[in-house]
């Protein structure tokens, strides 16, 4: 409020003020010349890697031919989108992407919270740390390696499941890479295996940050472990849970390409249940060579994501202003 007063007083001399402000601005630029220069490599990179491709979304409205290049190719209006949304694929890939993400969000949240709450109960720091780094191990390896690990279980002829577990539990061998109906379960398990450790560490960090006095007071009041968890820990880390979950919801139209492409070994028969927007875009571009339609699918994904992020951020702002992204 104080700052406003002098500003309104100088209003009559506005032109003078702008002139001196722009002079002041130039002086500032000069003073911070070196710091501004330091940001240049990063800016150039963002321009090349992000902003030129943003402009490249015009590909979705063109019929690309390589001779005329991106700019010279003829415009086709919304034909690419019409083609995409008239094919059965558009519905299928959207459904798959969203349903997988819903399952991932719920399963990972429940498991990660359980792990985080229980790690907090371990008094020996070394043991707690050992568990944490073990659970994080799957997170650091590439999806290629994950695909190998899954293959060692599901390989039809020699895999652990068909050869060892089927006789143990008495079921017939399954041709895993040819039967799409199993893959929603498989991919949810694989995704949890890879991601729960990471999420648990984030929640655990939030739990450690809670003031110990709350618990001391609760113990004096006779609260047991269960009460402490549900009445102190969970409510106090709720903002972190909400933020992480909203972020995940905002990218509900995106999928981990590696999970759906590598782990399924790009197997054709599995596509009805494993094709997502990202694998569809890749296959339409590389296998079909349909640049316009794949660009249209990508654009559709980006636009929906954009509004989801704005919405999620709006929600976060209302819940806890400090955690909002912008």
């Amino acid at each position: 409020m104080e700052a406003l007063a002098p500003a309104s007083r100088t209003k009559p001399a506005a032109t003078h003020a702008t002139a001196s402000r722009s002079r002041h601005f130039l002086r500032q630029i000069k003073k911070y010349k070196m710091l501004l220069l330091m940001t240049l490599p990063g800016l150039v990179y963002l321009f090349v890697n992000n902003y030129i491709p943003m402009y490249g979304v015009i590909l979705a409205f063109k019929n690309l031919n390589y001779v005329q290049g991106i700019w010279g190719s003829p415009w086709v209006g919304t034909d690419n989108f019409k083609f995409l949304f008239n094919s059965p694929d558009a519905y299928l890939i959207t459904r798959n992407t969203i349903l997988y993400n819903v399952a991932f969000i719920i399963v990972n949240l429940v498991l990660a919270l359980t792990v985080a709450l229980l790690i907090n109960e371990i008094k020996e720091k070394v043991v707690a740390r050992f568990y944490q780094s073990t659970f994080l191990l799957p997170h650091i390896i590439s999806m290629v390696v994950v695909a190998y690990l899954v293959y060692s279980f599901l390989n039809a002829d020699n895999g652990l499941v068909n050869r060892q577990l089927s006789s143990l539990f008495g079921f017939d061998s399954i041709s895993w890479y040819n039967e799409p109906q199993h893959w929603p379960y498989i991919l949810v398990i694989v995704n949890a295996w890879k991601g729960v450790g990471f999420l648990a560490i984030i929640y655990f960090a939030a739990i450690i940050g809670i003031d110990k006095e709350y618990y001391e007071a609760a113990i004096i009041d006779g609260a047991g472990k269960w009460k402490q968890m549900t009445r102190i820990t969970l409510p106090l880390i709720a903002p972190v849970i909400i933020v992480m979950t909203l972020l995940a919801i905002s990218s509900i139209m995106r999928s981990d390409f590696g999970l759906f492409y590598q782990v399924t070994m790009n197997s054709g028969p599995l596509m009805p249940t494993t094709n997502t927007i990202d694998t569809f875009v890749y296959r339409a571009m590389v296998k079909l060579g349909d640049i316009g339609m794949s660009a249209a699918a990508g654009f559709y994904q980006s636009v929906v994501c954009f509004f989801l992020i704005l919405g999620a951020n709006f929600a976060v702002r209302r819940i806890s202003k400090n955690d909002a992204l912008f």
Binding site: N49, L149, Y282, M285, G298
Partner: protein, 296 residues
């Protein structure tokens, strides 16, 4: 009361013990398969306790190690260059953003931040690099696209600079007559070892594990990195010997190849460096994740 808490503690350790086994078991399985005798696999399938041990798969791979060695060479070169350059660019971008007086600070932040909100999608991105910059089949195609500057890492580093480096340090440098770049290099960087280690590690893992760029931009076998060689081999184990000169040689090699185990041996060779290094860097990695979570 004591019995109760004993039961609880044992339950927790039982739960985590099971969880730890689930995390590690698949790696162990692949390793055991890679050292199983081929005949034992035909008999019993993949097993964690093979009836007969045999290192034939490894000796087969080491017999003709050139391809694997070259793929490793590509991965190592790309990782070293990529990690260094991207750490440099990230730090150079993040530090000015952490300075309160910087003019255009909001514009710069927004330019960075907007890339987290909207993207042109994979196709225009790919076309930009292939058609505008001609990166197809070059080492640069595994270094530059996508991996070099993560907005998230910049924000992480910016909040480290803003929260842990006292302003008085910059002032003292200015009084001594040092320029901004000298202050950054001589005063700020040495104080920022933890965040440099964290971001460097994030970058290193991203480059080491990358197969996506290689899949998109590289056709030439001699430019394949280890991750993509593994991808190709998983789908077709004969990919490993395809480059043999004559068809009779190929036939000969295929008949000699312990196909079931050689695949898993390659997986172990591919993942071993990461698994062996993990105990040494896991602390930095965990603290990196937590520092990202507790937002500054």
């Amino acid at each position: 009361m004591n019995r109760m808490s004993f039961a609880r503690v044992s339950f927790i350790h039982l739960f985590f013990g099971a969880f730890a086994i689930v995390s590690i078991f698949p790696f162990l399985l692949v390793f055991m398969v890679s050292i199983t005798d081929e005949s034992s696999i035909v008999q019993n399938g993949y097993s964690i306790l093979p009836s007969k041990i045999n290192f034939a798969a490894y000796s087969f791979l080491f017999n003709d190690f050139a391809q694997i060695a070259r793929a490793y060479g590509v991965t190592i070169a790309v990782t070293l260059i990529g990690t260094t350059v991207s750490l440099l660019i990230t730090a150079l971008f993040a530090y000015p953003l952490s300075r309160k007086g910087l003019p255009l600070r909001r514009t710069l932040s927004f330019t960075l931040f907007f890339t987290m909100l909207f993207s042109g999608g994979m196709v225009p991105w790919y076309m930009t690099y292939v058609m505008t910059f001609g990166l197809k089949n070059t080492l640069l195609a595994m270094i530059i696209p996508g991996l070099m500057l993560s907005a998230f890492n910049v924000l992480l580093m910016r909040s480290f600079f803003a929260n842990t480096i006292p302003e008085s340090i910059v002032e003292s440098g200015t009084i001594d007559g040092a320029g901004e770049f000298t202050i950054f290099l001589k005063l700020i960087v040495p104080l920022s070892a933890p965040i440099m280690a964290t971001i460097g590690l994030f970058n290193l893992l991203a480059y080491w594990n990358d197969w996506y760029n290689c899949m998109l931009f590289i056709d030439k076998p001699e430019l394949m990195n280890i991750q993509y060689l593994m991808t190709k081999t998983l789908n077709n184990v004969q990919f490993l010997i395809m480059k043999a000169d004559t068809s009779s040689q190929v036939g000969d090699l295929i008949s000699k190849m312990p196909t079931e185990t050689v695949r898993m041996a390659l997986a172990i060779i591919g993942v071993a460096p990461l698994l062996l290094a993990y105990p040494f860097f896991q602390r930095f990695y965990i603290s990196g994740i937590t520092s990202g979570a507790v937002k500054g």
